[in-house]
Structures are given as structure tokens and as C-alpha cells.
């Protein structure tokens, strides 16, 4: 769970993923100035090109140890300039930078930790054994760079065992922050829980995720503190293991979204849908019936009404699963009710201000939806907004 909040603030939305095209090592030569001393593949970055951007690669002192990305019309060069101060060097300091080159339209943020770590590794080797400055850099470094570029592009990770210490590089993909989890939301597994050593909270909580228990209920059942359960859910959402859907009740109202038309055209989605919503796997429901049930979901029609109209068990449809599939795939959307109190009553206005929906209020006050709705219906000053 320590991974929550790790998403660094260097996140860069849109932009595709792309492989590393080239990796090169450059240093500040005491007489020749900035030069590329080792490159994999060779001659990828030309001398002219390098000279035009060398100011961003061998930088001024203030920019040492910063991740610097310069975007050119064809390439994106990502580097991490490092300087080692020591009397033994000709200019009392040794500058180097290990750079990755990608296509100019791909994102490179997820390579930043790799570049930093690799630079630190080289720096450690330099300090210990003059690995870089001894002049034989190209012969010793070239195989390392070759290994790094090949393994990172194919496996996304790489283990370097050169020298006395080993280092492991891994490309970690950055995803957006998961939104906070509310008490009344229901977690659903969207893929199998990866088989690994999860933390104690997750181990205790996951058996209760069945697609129908909401967060507060899971907390009660698993005897885990509510906020811990929420943090755990947020973590699982981040890794794409779990998705959150609204609580299922027969009084709920859903409406169709423009995505519903995908269901009619995407054969793959259809077969997944039929398998998911089937009451029993032995006999799958009719696609037309399933589509008709989705299409009948409008504002003002509760699931209870739908069940009375269609009798889902006759159609071999499990209505809970039907709703769950629709919400997960974005074919339908929950329509929430927001009560607003119009009369002057400061106490009630706080909760009935229109900012919270019925689910939230019910969950916070431990009242059933039926009771609350009956009570609100009797009060003529309360307006229910469906949205």
C-alpha cells in the first residue's frame, strides 16, 4: 500500500508509449568539450545534432542532478547531468550524462527513474574504480548500454551485474491518481487478484469483495477499520484490479449512455455480456432480451419496475449482474437523486443541500433508502433532483 501517492508530479498525460530508440553516454572532455563517447546503436545521434543541444546535456552547475528532457523535431532526449568533484580530474571535476533517446511524440516520464538510477550506478562505479574516466569507457560501457536498451525495450526491466554491486532497472508505468473511495461504493474485481504477497489489510479484505458488498459493509464484515479498507480499495483501483460501482438496490434508477450502441455492434462485447449477465452458465440468455432490458433503463424506471416488466429469471438474466456489467462497461449510468430542502431549517439544510445524493446520506446516517424516501416524500419543501 505504500505505493499510494507515489505517482510523481512529473506525470504527463496523453502521448503514446514508445520504445527507447538509442542510449548514449556523453562526458565533458578536458580539451574537446562535450562529446558522445559511447552510443548504442552507433551513429544514431549525429555530431551536429549533439552540438546543437549539448547545452542541455552537459549543463551549468545549477542544473546538475535534474532530469532534463529536450524535445526536438524528430527526437526526445532525456538525460540526468552528473558532476563528480575530485582533484584527480584534469579540471577538478568530471561531468557526464547518460541519455535516452525516444521518438519526439512519445512520452518519456516513465523512463526518468531509470535514467536517474542508471546514472547513480555509473557514478558509484566511477568513484570506486574510475570506470568511466579511465578512457576505456567505450569498450566496457558498450555492452552494458546494449543490454539496457534491449532488455528495457523487450522486458521492461534489466538487471546489471557489472562491477561489485548489482542494480536492477525497471520501467514503472505511471497512472493517474485514483479518486477517493466513498462508503457506499461497491468494489468489483475486474481481473484476478495478482498472485503475490499482499499486505495484511488486503489479505483480510479481499475475500469480502463479491461485487455486492459496499465499502462500509466490507469494513464491518472483515473487522477492518473503515479508512484502511478505503485506502486498500484505492490501491487496488490504482492497479486496475478492482473497479467501483454504485450500490445495487432495486429502487435504483439507471439511464442509457451513447455507448449502448457498441453492444449491438461489438460481437466480442456481446458474448462477454451474455456470459456475465447469465443467471446460469448452462444456458445463456437471448441477446435481444438483454439489449431490450438495457434500452428500457430510463430516468423514472427503477430496477424493480424493470423486473416486473421483463421477469428476468424467465429470460435467464441475473438483473444484478446485468446492471453491474452495464455500469462497468459504461453502457448505462446510475441516476442519483439529490434532495434539496427549500425551507429555512439550518439543521436539515446541511445534509439536504443538493451536494449529497441519497446514497451518501443513507450511508452516513444509517437509514434505509426506503425510509428516507418516504420521509422526504411527505415533506413538500424537499425537491428531488435526478441527475
Amino acid at each position: 500500500m505504500e505505493n499510494i501517492g507515489y505517482v510523481s508530479n512529473h506525470f504527463e498525460p496523453n502521448g503514446q508509449e514508445g520504445p527507447i530508440r538509442c542510449i548514449f553516454f556523453c562526458e565533458f572532455h578536458p580539451t574537446a568539450g562535450p562529446i558522445i563517447s559511447c552510443q548504442e546503436p552507433e551513429q544514431y545521434i549525429s555530431k551536429e545534432l549533439f552540438d546543437s543541444v549539448s547545452v542541455y546535456i552537459i549543463t551549468k552547475a545549477e542544473l546538475q542532478r535534474s532530469t532534463i528532457t529536450v524535445t526536438l523535431s524528430d527526437y526526445k532526449i532525456l538525460g540526468f547531468p552528473v558532476r563528480i568533484d575530485d582533484k584527480k580530474y584534469p579540471r577538478n571535476a568530471y561531468h557526464f550524462n547518460l541519455c535516452l533517446v525516444c521518438d519526439s511524440n512519445v512520452r518519456t516520464v516513465h523512463y526518468e527513474p531509470v535514467v536517474t538510477k542508471l546514472s547513480d550506478y555509473l557514478m558509484a562505479m566511477e568513484i570506486e574504480s574510475n570506470f568511466l574516466s579511465s578512457g576505456k569507457a567505450s569498450t566496457k560501457l558498450a555492452p552494458i548500454l546494449k543490454q539496457v536498451i534491449e532488455e528495457l525495450n523487450t522486458k521492461g526491466e534489466c538487471a546489471l551485474t557489472e562491477g561489485p554491486t548489482a542494480t536492477h532497472l525497471k520501467v514503472v508505468h505511471i497512472r493517474s491518481d485514483p479518486s477517493p473511495v466513498a462508503d457506499h461504493q461497491v468494489p468489483v474485481f475486474i481481473k484476478e487478484l495478482p498472485n503475490q504477497q499482499w499486505d495484511l489489510t488486503t489479505q483480510q479484505v479481499t475475500p469480502y469483495i463479491d461485487g455486492f458488498n459496499h465499502v462500509a459493509r466490507i469494513a464491518a464484515l472483515s473487522d477492518v477499520e473503515n479508512n484502511l479498507v478505503k485506502a486498500c480499495m484505492q490501491n487496488l483501483v490504482y492497479y486496475g484490479v478492482v473497479a467501483l460501482v454504485p450500490l445495487f438496490q432495486y429502487g435504483n434508477v439507471y439511464c442509457t449512455t451513447p455507448h449502448l450502441k457498441l453492444l449491438a455492434h461489438d460481437i466480442n462485447l456481446q458474448s462477454r455480456c451474455l456470459k456475465y449477465v447469465a443467471a446460469s452458465q448452462r444456458q445463456l440468455p437471448n441477446f435481444r432480451d438483454v439489449f431490450r432490458m438495457f434500452a428500457a433503463m430510463t430516468r423514472g424506471t427503477t430496477i424493480r419496475d424493470l423486473c416486473l416488466r421483463f421477469n428476468p429469471s424467465n429470460l435467464r438474466v441475473n438483473e444484478r449482474k446485468l446492471v453491474q456489467f452495464g455500469v462497468l462497461e459504461g453502457l448505462i449510468r446510475r441516476v442519483h437523486k439529490y434532495p434539496i430542502l427549500l425551507s429555512e431549517s439550518s439543521e436539515l439544510q446541511k445534509s439536504l443541500s443538493g451536494a449529497a445524493n441519497l446514497d451518501e446520506i443513507c450511508c452516513a446516517t444509517c437509514v434505509t433508502t426506503q425510509q428516507l424516501e418516504d420521509q422526504l416524500e411527505r415533506d413538500h419543501n424537499v425537491v428531488l433532483l435526478w441527475k
Partner: protein, 577 residues
């Protein structure tokens, strides 16, 4: 807000070297707290892993929304690019700051025409690295425009020489120790500096930049990601969303201005397009674009372009024209609660009305026709229309359309793939045919369906239909043929291209006994109206049908045609995605 600039920096480089001339904001940042002191919980146990791995905190160059950690010298050396990178997009990311600019080379007016008379000017925007690719592109565009304007002004009257001279003097004038004072002086003396200040403020407040460079060149710029988000709270409208909406424009849509027409005068300005003014004179949210074009005596294409312009600049939005049959519901992210400023705004416009009551009428899908009964006073009705317009302008309402999906068998479409191919082919054909009178490629998709209908109806289907008509007339004349045979005959012919299984299911419907119904059904089905891409109103418009005709057909064929209500994804994007 990740779309706001952190800072705007002006750098020059010439034969005398590079220099940072001006940056805004320049207020000195008191950096008391050492960097990266995150408050740690005193009760946490030191994690053993942390000690071994010591994950270095990523360094940040942003402090409370301002750029920090760079001296002016470093910035100027970074932005005074090598000649190879001039007149190109410049993008540099350092830690969590992204710099974007367009270094522009310009020939100084009173210098000789060689390398020594060239000056590099770079207006650089410092953005948060989070800023999306499209935001960066927009800022690059702004920097490029600044560069072009400055190059022109230098050529015309040596403006850049004069301004840079003043700025350099201010820096040299003994203020070297205190750059803030120098920047103050520059801001007072130089119009270019005050332009940059105005630009920064505009970008941070509204996203609409309107400055006069050297009181001569108007530079207007719109940052769509900023302009369109005032009502959306955090959701960002990307330029490609707007493009998608504009590609979906149809002649039956209508324009809804977000501001009163009187206020649009500021926007059109002195040198605004005269056709825009002409269109605004005829504007009404009840007219569709086709009528608007006719009334303003403009071509439909030009009205589309003007609409696109107004939508891009967040002056207008696109709706389906307000009519009695429109069904509205509350938009899912409508910010309606007791503390919403919209409540007061609504009561100001409509005294004695309450927004919450007005909105709550649309809790269930409600059409205008349902709300006005015949006994209703005309003034009440106009009041209702006005409130609906107000709510649409504030993105509180969403219109629902009915879409139709053809599902002939229990398993869905029999050969969905085949059908897709066929549709694809027919749409390609319509594109080819329509391109003859469509001026630009970008409008293809818009033209596709309108032209598609006309082309499709001229293709063999029509012939077969007319054949069939004459045939059936003949059949009527021949009295010997039994009715049953006759039915078989035209049915087979009409649905010849349908797969057997589908045909079998369709014939189970009693309405297939009426030739007109079946013919209409077959025609609409062939044209692909029943694939959930067209709503009822669009089919009515394209096929020149009455609503009652279409609704009757849908009812008769309800076994294979399933309807559902949802918003039009193309034009609803400003309120909800």
C-alpha cells in the same frame, strides 16, 4: 490549475550575447523553508528499506505556483538556443517544469544585413510538466504569434531594438544587485513588458488574450482548455473535443449564444468579420443553422465556419433547436445546490422564480409540449422557453434523443460483420460522390449523411423500388393472382439483400402485410438509420418524414427495432462526456 502558465520569460540573444530581459511574475520569492521538507509524522517508525534504498525525492522547481530554483543567467543560457533550433518549436522539460517557446530570428532594422544584425527573441512559457500535449501546442502557437508580430514590428519601425535597448539599460543601470527593481522599472517604461504582464494575467484569469503590440498589432488568442472550463470545475475541454463537436454539426442544429447579443459587440470588435455581424443580427436559438443561413443571406458552409469560430472561443454552444417535442433532463454534473451562485443569478434574470424549482421540473425527461397545456397563457409559455434557454446556456439541462437499434434475431445481427462492411462501402461511396461539392476534407463527415441519402436514393435501390411499384400496379390489374402470392412476391423482392434468418423474423410481424410500411422499413434499414447512429429527429430531417410516421413505424416493427433514449454524444460534450 495545470493549464495556467507559471511564468513568461523574454530572452534575447545577439552579437552581444544572451540576456534575460524580462520575466513575469518577478516578485521575489522568500524561500525560508528548505526545499522538500515534507512534514513527517513524528510517530512513524523509520522504514528499514528507506534507509537502504534512500529514494531521492524528485526535485521540484515549482513553489506555490511560481517558478523557483533557476537564476536569470541559467534561464537565459537555456533559452538562447543555437541557430539550428531557431524558428522551430522549442520544448524543454526540467524536473517538473516544462518550457515551451518559439525562438524567432529577426533582422534588426538599423543594422547591416548579415549575421551581426540578427537577433534571437524567445518568448518562453513555463508550464507545469503535467500540462497536456495539447496545452503545450497552444502555448507554442502563442509564442510563435508573438515572434511573428515582433519581427514585423521590428521591420516596420525598429520596435524590438528600442524595447530591448531600454530593458538592457535598466538592467545595467546599477540595479544589477536587485533584479526585481530593474524589472519594476522595465514594466513602467516598456510597452512590451506590460504586454507580457497583461498576457500573463489574461491567461491566468480567462484564457482569452487580447493585447495590442506597440499599439499597432492586435494579438488575440484563446486557450480553449481554460476558456471552456469555467463551468465544468476541473474537467478540461481539449481542442480535439471541440473539433469533434464541430464535425458533427448538421444543418438542423442551432446556435446558442452564451452571452446576450449586445455583449457580442466587444468580441466582434472593429475589424470583425461583417458576415459574423450579419449572422448575429438574425440570431435566434429557435432557428436552425439552415434557416439562419437563409435569413442572414450567407452560405450554409460559412455559417458552419462562423459557428465553429464562436464555439471555439466559448461564445456559443450548439444545441438542437428548441421545439415542443424536445425532451430535457438535468445534466449529470449540473452544479445545483443551495450555495450555488447560479441561484442568485437566475433570480436576477427571472424575479420571483426559483432555479431549483425550475430545474426540478426536468427531474424526469420532460418535453416542452408536456409542460404547456392549451390553457396556458402565451406569456407563461415564453417565460418557460426563456428559462430553458437560460438553463441550456448554463449547461444545466441535457437533451435526450431517441435512438433506434435494429435487432432482427435473438442473437442480434446475424452477420454483423458483413453488414459493417456493406455500410462501410456505402459510406465510402457517398464520400466519393459528395466530395465534388464539398470544399474541404474536414467537412466530409458532416456532409456524409446528407449527401449519403441523396446518393443512396439515386442508386439501384430506387430503380428496384420503382420497378416494384409498377409491378405491383400491374399485379393489381391482374385479377387472377391471389393476394397471398402477391404478398410473397413483393416481400421477397423488398428484403432480397437481407439474410434469410432476418427475413424470416421480419415476416412474422403483421405490419409486413402493408406494402407501404414494409417499404419504408426496408428503405430506412438499408440506409443504416437503425444502427444507433441517428436519432429520430435526424432521420426525420434527412428523409423528410413526419414524426408520427416514424413513430408508427417504430411501433409496428417494435419486435426488431429497439429504441433507447440518450444524449447526442457530439453536441452534449460541453456539458457531459
Amino acid at each position: 490549475m495545470e493549464v495556467n502558465p507559471l511564468s513568461i520569460i523574454l530572452v534575447k540573444s545577439d552579437s552581444k550575447g544572451d540576456r534575460l530581459l524580462f520575466r513575469y511574475p518577478f516578485h521575489f520569492q522568500e524561500n525560508n523553508e528548505p526545499a522538500n521538507t515534507k512534514r513527517r509524522n513524528p510517530y512513524t517508525l523509520p522504514n528499514l528499506e528507506d534507509l537502504l534504498q534512500s529514494p531521492s525525492q524528485p526535485t521540484s522547481n515549482i513553489n506555490k505556483g511560481h517558478l523557483t530554483g533557476f537564476t536569470d543567467e541559467v534561464l537565459s543560457s537555456l533559452f538562447a538556443v543555437k541557430p539550428e533550433l531557431c524558428n522551430k518549436k522549442f520544448e524543454l522539460k526540467v524536473n517538473d517544469v516544462r518550457f515551451v517557446g518559439h525562438p524567432t530570428l529577426l533582422q534588426l532594422r538599423n543594422k547591416q544585413q548579415d549575421a551581426s544584425g540578427l537577433m534571437l527573441i524567445n518568448v518562453v512559457f513555463a508550464l507545469q510538466a503535467l500540462a497536456s500535449h495539447s496545452v503545450v501546442t497552444c502555448y507554442h502557437d502563442l509564442s510563435k504569434r508573438m515572434g511573428i508580430a515582433l519581427r514585423y514590428e521590428e521591420k516596420r519601425c525598429g520596435y524590438v531594438t528600442e524595447q530591448t535597448q531600454t530593458m538592457t539599460t535598466a538592467h545595467d543601470d546599477g540595479y544589477a544587485s536587485n533584479s526585481e527593481a530593474a524589472f519594476q522599472t522595465i514594466l513602467k517604461k516598456c510597452t512590451l513588458a506590460s504586454n507580457i504582464k497583461k498576457m500573463y494575467e489574461d491567461l491566468c484569469s480567462t484564457g482569452l488574450v487580447n493585447i495590442q503590440i506597440n499599439k499597432w498589432i492586435t494579438l488575440s488568442f484563446c486557450l480553449p482548455q481554460k476558456v471552456h472550463q469555467w463551468h465544468l470545475r476541473g474537467k478540461i475541454v481539449e481542442p480535439k473535443d471541440i473539433d469533434r463537436c464541430l464535425k458533427a454539426l448538421r444543418p438542423y442544429h442551432s446556435l446558442l449564444l452564451l452571452y446576450p447579443v449586445q455583449q457580442m459587440g466587444d468580441f466582434t470588435g472593429l475589424d470583425g468579420s461583417p458576415s459574423l455581424e450579419r449572422m448575429l443580427k438574425q440570431y435566434s436559438p429557435i432557428k436552425n443553422l439552415q434557416t439562419l443561413a437563409a435569413d442572414a443571406d450567407l452560405t450554409l458552409n460559412h455559417v458552419f465556419e462562423l459557428t465553429a469560430h464562436l464555439v471555439y472561443w466559448a461564445k456559443a454552444t450548439v444545441i438542437f433547436p428548441i421545439c415542443l417535442t424536445n425532451k430535457y433532463v438535468i445534466s449529470p454534473d449540473a452544479p445545483i445546490h443551495l450555495n450555488s451562485p447560479l441561484l442568485d443569478k437566475f433570480s436576477e434574470t427571472f424575479p420571483a422564480s426559483n432555479l431549483i424549482r425550475a430545474v426540478s421540473d426536468f427531474a424526469l425527461p420532460t418535453s416542452l409540449g408536456q409542460k404547456c397545456n392549451p390553457l396556458c397563457h402565451p406569456s407563461q409559455q415564453s417565460h418557460l422557453v426563456k428559462t430553458i434557454i437560460w438553463m441550456l446556456q448554463h449547461h444545466l439541462l441535457l437533451q435526450l434523443h431517441t435512438y433506434i437499434q435494429y435487432i432482427p434475431t435473438d442473437r442480434g445481427l446475424v452477420v454483423a460483420r458483413d453488414r459493417d462492411d456493406r455500410n462501410h462501402m456505402s459510406s465510402q461511396r457517398s464520400v466519393v460522390l459528395s466530395s465534388s461539392y464539398q470544399p474541404s476534407a474536414s467537412e466530409h463527415s458532416r456532409a456524409e449523411s446528407e449527401s449519403g441519402t441523396s446518393t443512396v436514393s439515386e442508386t439501384p435501390e430506387l430503380r428496384s423500388e420503382s420497378d416494384l411499384l409498377s409491378r405491383s400496379i400491374n399485379l393489381e390489374n391482374v385479377s387472377f393472382t391471389s393476394i397471398e402470392e402477391e404478398k410473397q412476391d413483393y416481400q421477397e423482392e423488398l428484403l432480397l439483400d437481407f439474410p434469410d434468418e432476418e427475413r424470416g423474423n421480419i415476416f412474422k410481424i403483421p405490419a409486413t402485410n402493408t406494402p407501404e410500411d414494409l417499404r419504408l422499413f426496408a428503405r430506412l434499414c438499408r440506409k443504416g438509420y437503425f444502427h444507433g447512429d441517428h436519432h429520430i429527429e435526424e432521420i426525420m430531417y434527412l428523409e423528410n418524414l413526419r414524426r408520427s410516421q416514424l413513430l408508427q413505424l417504430l411501433d409496428k416493427f417494435r419486435d426488431v427495432l429497439i429504441t433507447y433514449e440518450t444524449e447526442d454524444p457530439a453536441i452534449a460534450m460541453f456539458s457531459y462526456t
